[in-house]
Amino acid sequence: MKTRTIFFLLILFFSACKKDPPTDPNDLTNIEYNPSSYSLSIPESFPILEIPEDNPLTYQGVQLGRRLFYDPIMSADSTMSCFSCHDINYGFNEPLSLSKGIDGIEGPRSSMSLLNVGFFYNGLFWDGRSHSLEQQALEPITNPLELHDTWENVIVKLKRHENYPTRFREAFGIEHKNEITKELVAKALAQFQRIIIAGGNSKYDRVLRGEEFFTDSEFNGYDMFFDLSPDMPDAECAHCHGGPLFTTNEYVNNGISNVNSLEDFIDKGRGEVTGVLFDNGKFKIPTLRNITLTPPYMHDGRFATIEEVIHHYNSGGHYADNLDPLILPLNLSEQNIQDIIAFLRTLEDTEYTTNPDLQNPFE
């Protein structure tokens, strides 16, 4: 009896002294990692959506990217997010000529619409300095004229956040909060941006499918846009705005700047990236889908209306040695201009705004 009691007490003593295994509060392995493929609907007439092998679209990744896109945690003073300059209600653009960051300082350029940005493979930004959405997403966080934060600070905020570590685990399978990196943030943002798809059910698309007809004015605009008949003026639009996305994704000097020499462009645009003098003053050709809904226009937002834009092209633009040869006086009448605008309005398609996966999750 005595021996048994001592043995029992010893067991009790040792088991009582044994500490619980230490639980790391930053460990995420108890959270399930089972990402599901994101089902994306792409209009039949659109190009192939090329997705990097190391960043496949998953439901969890898209949802994480969506939260990051809309969350002001991404800025130094928690007042702005990507959404601030890429508002779903303005075609993922903003109605300002020049974008302002958290310090209220205007940047040199207007923000670009993100509609269909996943299909733009020939560089991103007005000057094409980023090669991929994953690369592009790294920049605005630290740009002093945009979100003006540091990646170190943003990562700390995300690690401390009550939800984000779980979401990074669910999206990318990280096992520890310390594995949250700027590259994963960029991947999530890229996944979200790839689902920003607009088009496929505009009047233009419905007409092409034989479901509807252009009005006379719209048809005349269509005719001039694509130079269908010799009876109408050739507006030369489709050279730069061809294809289902109405952009060739190239870089051109479209004659908006009046300069004496190629060195004189205030904003050198593509030339800043390539270092090639002849590229100075060239900027990316934007998509025209929803163009009538996304003023102002040009890289510096100098034109407030689409009418001003077409009047500019009708003039032939300002001469420079690198003025694109396809920018030339058009001799369009005022009626011709209105017809082209009528056609451009057939490219409006706001169905994307009803996509719940694109909407602000914090509202």
Binding site: S45, I48, Y121, H239, G243, F278, P325, L326
Partner: protein, 261 residues
């Protein structure tokens, strides 16, 4: 025909053509061949955006490209397929005299050792491919760019020359645009060179240069094209004038090529 099927068919044809060589080729022996396309202006490497003279007036070229298709080396009635389709874009290669003198490398691979006496290639997109659209190809495929397709005519743009011309001859601004956008099936042309003497020798790299003399695109037996009146066409099928000019330019492209050995 689907792209996959085409790829399979072409691969099979390539394999068959390279492996079915008869006594003219030493069975199993193959050697490297490289083919370069070079653009020149009056014999000198053409550099994009540099000023040249045409009919006594200055002009520059801002874009110069064409679709090269079905590149074939011949030996009598035997053929070796080298490349099915390529967008030869001098705009990206001819950025300096040094780069322009190298040219655009379109093929580098092993072909059966032996003698070849002919070479041919298409200038444009063959009709089977021309019935498709850029959206059916990846962005890195030669046929995957919307900039190279003209929707209204359901055709790739087979060749593009763009530039600017000092029409008033004052030596200052190049105030007049020139652009020749050639497309649609009837504008497809084939360049065939015969009586060549190309020896592909075992363990030696054979290099072939195909030169495009751009002046010859503007200048044929009927004389020089007047750029002030015939400086632009995008092959509008509803315009007899544009179609005539495009046909002339398409013909001139063929004659502007020369194979150098």
């Amino acid at each position: 025909m689907s792209n996959k099927l085409k790829f399979f068919f072409f691969s099979f044809a390539l394999f068959f053509s390279m492996s079915s060589c008869d006594e003219d080729f030493v069975k199993g022996d193959s050697s490297q061949i490289e083919i370069y396309f070079k653009a020149t202006y009056n014999g000198a490497p053409l550099v994009m955006n540099d000023r040249y003279f045409y009919d006594g007036k200055e002009l520059i070229f801002t874009k110069l490209q064409f679709y090269m298709s079905n590149l074939i080396l011949k030996n009598g009635d035997k053929e070796v397929d080298l490349d099915e389709i390529e967008l030869i874009d001098f705009t990206s290669t001819n950025t300096s005299p040094a780069n322009a003198s190298i040219g655009f490398r379109v093929v580098s691979g092993a072909i059966p050792v032996g003698s070849y006496d002919g070479l041919s290639f298409g200038i444009g997109v063959p009709s089977d491919y021309n019935s498709e659209k850029p959206t059916e190809f990846s962005s890195t495929h030669p046929l995957g760019q919307s900039s190279e397709y003209w929707d209204a005519w359901n055709s790739y743009i087979f060749s593009k020359i763009e530039g600017k011309y000092d029409e008033d001859g004052d030596g200052q601004d190049l105030e007049t645009s020139i652009f020749y956008h050639i497309g649609m099936n009837e504008m497809f042309r084939t360049k065939t060179e015969i009586d060549l003497n190309i020896d592909v020798i075992k363990e030696e790299v054979t290099v072939i240069h195909v030169e495009l003399e751009v002046v010859d695109i503007f200048n044929d037996n009927s004389g020089m094209i007047d750029l002030s009146t015939n400086g632009t066409t995008h092959t509008n099928p509803n315009s007899a004038e544009e179609m005539a000019l495009s046909n002339k330019v398409a013909d001139n492209w063929v004659n502007a090529f020369d194979v150098l050995q």
